[in-house]
Each structure stands twice: as structure tokens, then as C-alpha cells.
């Protein structure tokens, strides 16, 4: 061998070895990175990644089952591993695409005396539309059961298609159970007891507690009973999550007040969909695009998610943002750490923004965007503003940070301390709309009758007490280093 060629030969071998050791990203890894960086987290993108695996069974045998099919669990781990090493770390919930069974739906349709006027032939039919939409937002082929509830739970005797077409649901279910009262304790208990993994149960109701034999019982006593029964029932079943959605519907007919004579009322009245599922199923409902429209139903006026435990919120610091002031460098690794922080040269203020995905909390925007609902603790007195992320804010360069996020949390403070720790938490409180939608007198149709529900605050307050996991819905801590 010519000795003069030796250095080149050795150099080439060493460089190739270096390349193989450090830069050997496979085709699949490159494709996953591209999908995550471009925010193309769709079923089509996932299918193309799976095709890449199945087309190269020798190369990606560890991602295949013995039968040669894609092992979706391992695929999810592979994607998660790559995503967690990106800047900022990214997560892609591929469960919906990975051969997960469709969720089943069980509808519990309240048939009490005060519910019948919601579905009169001359009305707008908002109640029926809300239920029909709910059923239709589940993928075709999902198992759907319908029950009628009042003093007990009775199976609907017709098919789902017949239910959807039914123009007078209360007429076709006449005679089922005792419509003079609604036993929420029994209903919630039965719903929770009957619920199986992967099931979503929805109670369609006006949420007016009307138990049996209340003659001469004070309203305060009824409210206390309502509050404690809600707490007792929901506290029994751990790991559940409940979403209450408020709608407005045309009401035309007799209203039965707690105290006083029944009277005729024509106008708007609130009604509710109470969605009950295991917490992980509720998370899936919130994230899986196949169930779009279930938790963000059209026509919904307010909603609130009762949850057990503090949620984890995905946050990314925006390195380039119009509101940023001063300088900082995001450290990569566990937690959010801003190093080399410097205040603005003129004002001395440091201002930075975090893009956060608050969607999974399923709280209404009024609650999420009101900074007064947050606690912010820091040495340098950082203040917080919250604004929703709009599509127009996205550019090619910031898409990576804003894609999949719902709100911008902007913090401003004096950059004086050598080290600071900013803690943000969203206080766990019932939203204002619950109090505003609740009344303690329904004897007449005057005042706020059209927008309030008797004892709503007591009922939802009882559920809140049962499911209150902690003092906050989520906590975020940002370490600042000069």
C-alpha cells in the first residue's frame, strides 16, 4: 500500500465513524422531526410514518409486532423520545391513530315535567339539536345507547336513527317512569356505577333538583341536601372527570316552580349536558380530532370541566415575540429555565411570553384570559397578562412554538435579582358563570328567570367539592438566572 495515501484513508475512516456515531439519524427519525417541527400532527402524517416502518421491516423491526404490523405503543414511545429532545420539547398524542377502540356513548335524556316544554314543535329545537349533534360528533360505528331518566333509568325503545329523526321525543317516550320528579342521586349513582372503560355518559337535563315529597321543606334545606348528595355521589367514584355544558333553548309550556303555582312560560331557558367519563377518556375527547364538536359544541353558552387532580399544561417560551423586552436564553432540559437574563436597556424590564395549551383544562375563555384568576409569585414582582392565540399570530418562524397552543402568558417584571423563580397557578374556583346562572327563587318568570337555574350553584358546588383536586388547576414555574 502506498504510504502516502495512508493519512487520507485514516482521516476518511475517522470522519465516517464520527458521522455514524453522532449524526446517524435514520429516515424515520428525520420524518418524525419534520412532522413535529412543521406541526403536521395529523392522521395522514402518522399513516405515512407507519408506511415508512412497514416498507422497511428489516430496519425498523423493533417497531413491528411479530405479525408484521406497526406496534403503535412502541411507535408512540419512539415519537415521544424524539419530541422530548426537540427545542422546545414537543408532544404528539398518537393514541387516536394507533388502533384505539372508538369510545362508546350513553345518553341519559331527562324526561321530567319541566323538560317537556324544551322540545315543542313550534320551538327552535335547540335541546334536540344539541343531543343530535352530540351523537353525530361520535364517529360512525360508535356504540350509542339512549336512556330516558326521571325517577329511574329506562332504555329508549327505538333505534338511534329513529331518535335522531324523532320530532317530538317527549311524545314518543310518554309514560316512561314518573315525570313528576327527578332523583339526581339515583341517576348519577347509576350512571357512574354503569360506566365502563372507554364510555362517555351524557345526562341531558335542566339540572333542577326536584326530589320526591318536598312539601313544607325549606329551600335552604333542599339546597343543602342537593349540595351534599352531589358531593357524596361523585366522591365515591375516583378518577372521573365531568364537563358541564350550558345551552339556551326555546321553552314553551308549563313551568313547575319549587314554591308556588305552576305557570306558563314562553321564552329562553338554560339546559345542560353533563358529560361524565374517566379522566383519560375526557383527555382523549379533548385531544382526539375525531371527537371535534363534542366538548366544543356549537351553540354552547358556557362550560366547565370538573377534574380530580392538577393538570399538566404544555408550555413553550417564545424566543422571538413582539412583546419580548430585554434578553434571555432558554436553557434546554427539565423545567423552564431562562439564563443570561437582562432587562431592557431603557426600562430595565424583562418581558417574555409563554405559549400554553390550556385547552385540555376545558375552562371557558373568560376564566382563562382573566389575569385576576391567576396567582403569580416572584421576587421581582412579575405581572401576568393572558391572551388567546389566534391563527393570524402564526408565522412560519414561530409556528413551531404556537402550533397546538391556545393561550399566551406574558410576564413582565424588573430584572433585578440574580436569581428569581416565577410561579404561575390558575386558582381552582368555580367560574363566575355558575353563580350568575343560579337562582334561589323560581316562583315567577320575572327578572333573570330566562337565564338562571334554581339551585345550580349548590348542585355544581357539591360536584366541585367532590372533585376538587388541589388549590390550582395547573402550576408553571419559570427559573430566571442573570
Amino acid at each position: 500500500m502506498n504510504m502516502r495515501r495512508l493519512p487520507l484513508l485514516i482521516a476518511c475512516i475517522a470522519l465516517l465513524a464520527g458521522l455514524a456515531a453522532c449524526g446517524g439519524h435514520g429516515q424515520l427519525e428525520k420524518a418524525v422531526r419534520s412532522v413535529l417541527v412543521n406541526g403536521d400532527t395529523t392522521r395522514a402524517a402518522y399513516d405515512s410514518l407507519c408506511s415508512l416502518v412497514t416498507d422497511n421491516p428489516g430496519k425498523y423491526s423493533d417497531l413491528l409486532t411479530p405479525e408484521g404490523r406497526v406496534d403503535h405503543k412502541k411507535m408512540a414511545e419512539f415519537i415521544e423520545n424524539i419530541g422530548s429532545h426537540l427545542r422546545p420539547p414537543m408532544h404528539w398524542d398518537t393514541r387516536p391513530y394507533g388502533g384505539v377502540d372508538d369510545l362508546s356513548l350513553t345518553v341519559y335524556f331527562e324526561r321530567s315535567g319541566s323538560m317537556v316544554p324544551y322540545d315543542q314543535r313550534g320551538g327552535g329545537g335547540q335541546l334536540k339539536k344539541a343531543v343530535n349533534d352530540l351523537i353525530n360528533h361520535f364517529p360512525a360505528g360508535s356504540k350509542v345507547d339512549i336512556n330516558i331518566v326521571n325517577d329511574g333509568i329506562y332504555p329508549y325503545q327505538h333505534t338511534v336513527d329513529e331518535f335522531l329523526k324523532d320530532r317530538d321525543i317527549y311524545q314518543s317516550t310518554a309514560g316512561m317512569g314518573d315525570a313528576s320528579y327527578t332523583d339526581f342521586q339515583l341517576i348519577f349513582d347509576k350512571i357512574l356505577e354503569a360506566q365502563r372503560p372507554g364510555n362517555v355518559s351524557v345526562l341531558v337535563s335542566d339540572l333542577i333538583y326536584s326530589p320526591k315529597d318536598t312539601h313544607g321543606v325549606s329551600l335552604d334545606k333542599i339546597f343543602n341536601e342537593e349540595n351534599s348528595l352531589a358531593t357524596r355521589v361523585f366522591a365515591k367514584y375516583k378518577g372521573k372527570s365531568v364537563v358541564v355544558q350550558q345551552f339556551m333553548g326555546d321553552y314553551s309550556g308549563k313551568y313547575y316552580p319549587y314554591n308556588g303555582e305552576p305557570f306558563n312560560y314562553s321564552g329562553k331557558r338554560p339546559f345542560y349536558l353533563v358529560i361524565i367519563a374517566d379522566s383519560d377518556v375526557m383527555d382523549q375527547l379533548a385531544q382526539d380530532k375525531r371527537y371535534n364538536g363534542v366538548l366544543d359544541a356549537s351553540g354552547m353558552r358556557n362550560s366547565y370541566r370538573f377534574n380530580q387532580g392538577v393538570s399538566t399544561v404544555d408550555c413553550r417560551v417564545l424566543p422571538e415575540w413582539k412583546d419580548n423586552a430585554g434578553r434571555f436564553r432558554v436553557k434546554h432540559g427539565d423545567g423552564i429555565v431562562l439564563a443570561k437574563c437582562e432587562g431592557d436597556r431603557q426600562t430595565g424590564k424583562l418581558c417574555f411570553s409563554l405559549a400554553a395549551n390550556l385547552g385540555s383544562l376545558l375552562k371557558d375563555d373568560a376564566l382563562l384570559t382573566n389575569a385576576a384568576n391567576y396567582d403569580v409569585q416572584s421576587v421581582d414582582g412579575y405581572t401576568l397578562t393572558v391572551q388567546p392565540i389566534e391563527q393570524s399570530m402564526l408565522t412560519a418562524n414561530n409556528k413551531e412554538y404556537l402550533e397546538g397552543m391556545t393561550h399566551l402568558l406574558t410576564l413582565t417584571g424588573d430584572c433585578k435579582s440574580p436569581r428569581d423563580e416565577v410561579r404561575i397557578s390558575l386558582r381552582n374556583e368555580l367560574p363566575a358563570w355558575v353563580h350568575q346562572s343560579s337562582s334561589d327563587n323560581d316562583a315567577s318568570a320575572s327578572g333573570s328567570f330566562s337565564t338562571t337555574t334554581l339551585g345550580l350553584e349548590q348542585l355544581l358546588g357539591g360536584m366541585f367539592d367532590a372533585m376538587k383536586g388541589g388549590k390550582s388547576f395547573f402550576d408553571v414555574t419559570i427559573q430566571l438566572q442573570r
Binding site: 493519512p7 482521516a11 470522519l15 464520527g18 453522532c22 426537540l86 436564553r329 418562524n397
Partner: protein, 151 residues
């Protein structure tokens, strides 16, 4: 043995440069120029290893061409060697910039100003690696082994 030691040191320096180019924690490309959004994209799109590989190949390739292809007594003066260094220091950032621009364009990103500033580093790294490569391989050149400094 002394010459072989130079070669080994040169290879080690080059491999260390490559490893530091792939690193997340201490990345050599983020020490002289840092723009969070731009650098994060470079990292996420796995561009650092390719940029490093281009720089290494151009630098070592330039040195190899000078010492083994040109390898002539007509071109054995220090300024001939310096001219090749100049070519390497221009070629490497240009190729890297074209690569950067292509990948960013594929992903719908626009970082013209940042890329130009970033590639100023490539001028420096390519020149340094060319010197390292020169001192690693010059000893076996029949006509240029005394360039740029006498043996």
C-alpha cells in the same frame, strides 16, 4: 512517529469538533452566534451535523487537494497554501448557506439575515480545520511538505 502523532491529533480535533456540533448542551456553533429561534430550528432539523460535515469535508478536502493533487514545486510557497485556505474559507460557508437555505425553504422558514451571520462562523471553523488538516497530512506530500512552514 512524530508525523503520525500530528495526524492522530488532527483527527481527534476534527472528531471532537464534529461531536460538539451534534451536542444539545454545549454546541460549538451556538457559542459565537446565538439567536434562539434560529438555532432551535437548526437543531430540530438536524442541520448542525450536516453543516459540520460540510465544513470538515471542504477543509480536509482542500488540504488533501493541495498536498496530494496540486503537489507541485510551482505551488509550494506559503501564499499558494494561503490561497487554498481562502478558497476553503469561502467555499465552506457558501455550500453551508445553500444547504441551510434549502432546508429552511423546504420547511417554509425564512432566516436570510440570521443564516448570513451564522455562516461567518463557518469561515472561521473552515480556516481552522484547514490548518489542522494541513498539519495532519502535509508530512507525506512529496513536493509541498514544507508548506506553509518549513519542516
Amino acid at each position: 512517529m512524530k508525523h503520525l502523532t500530528y495526524l492522530i491529533i488532527g483527527i481527534v480535533v476534527t472528531v471532537v469538533f464534529f461531536i460538539l456540533s451534534c451536542s444539545d448542551g454545549f454546541n460549538i456553533w451556538e457559542q459565537l452566534y446565538f439567536n434562539q429561534g434560529y438555532n432551535d430550528k437548526m437543531y430540530n432539523l438536524s442541520m448542525y451535523p450536516v453543516i459540520a460535515a460540510i465544513t470538515i469535508l471542504v477543509a480536509w478536502g482542500g488540504a488533501a487537494i493541495y498536498y496530494y493533487a496540486i503537489n507541485s514545486v510551482k505551488f509550494d510557497r506559503w501564499y499558494h497554501w494561503l490561497a487554498v485556505l481562502g478558497v476553503v474559507a469561502v467555499l465552506a460557508p457558501v455550500v453551508c448557506y445553500i444547504y441551510n437555505d434549502t432546508v429552511f425553504a423546504e420547511n417554509g422558514l425564512m432566516y436570510v439575515g440570521e443564516s448570513i451571520q451564522f455562516e461567518m462562523q463557518t469561515v472561521l471553523f473552515a480556516a481552522l480545520l484547514y490548518i489542522v488538516a494541513s498539519f495532519s497530512m502535509r508530512w507525506w506530500s512529496s513536493n509541498c511538505r514544507h508548506t506553509p512552514l518549513p519542516q
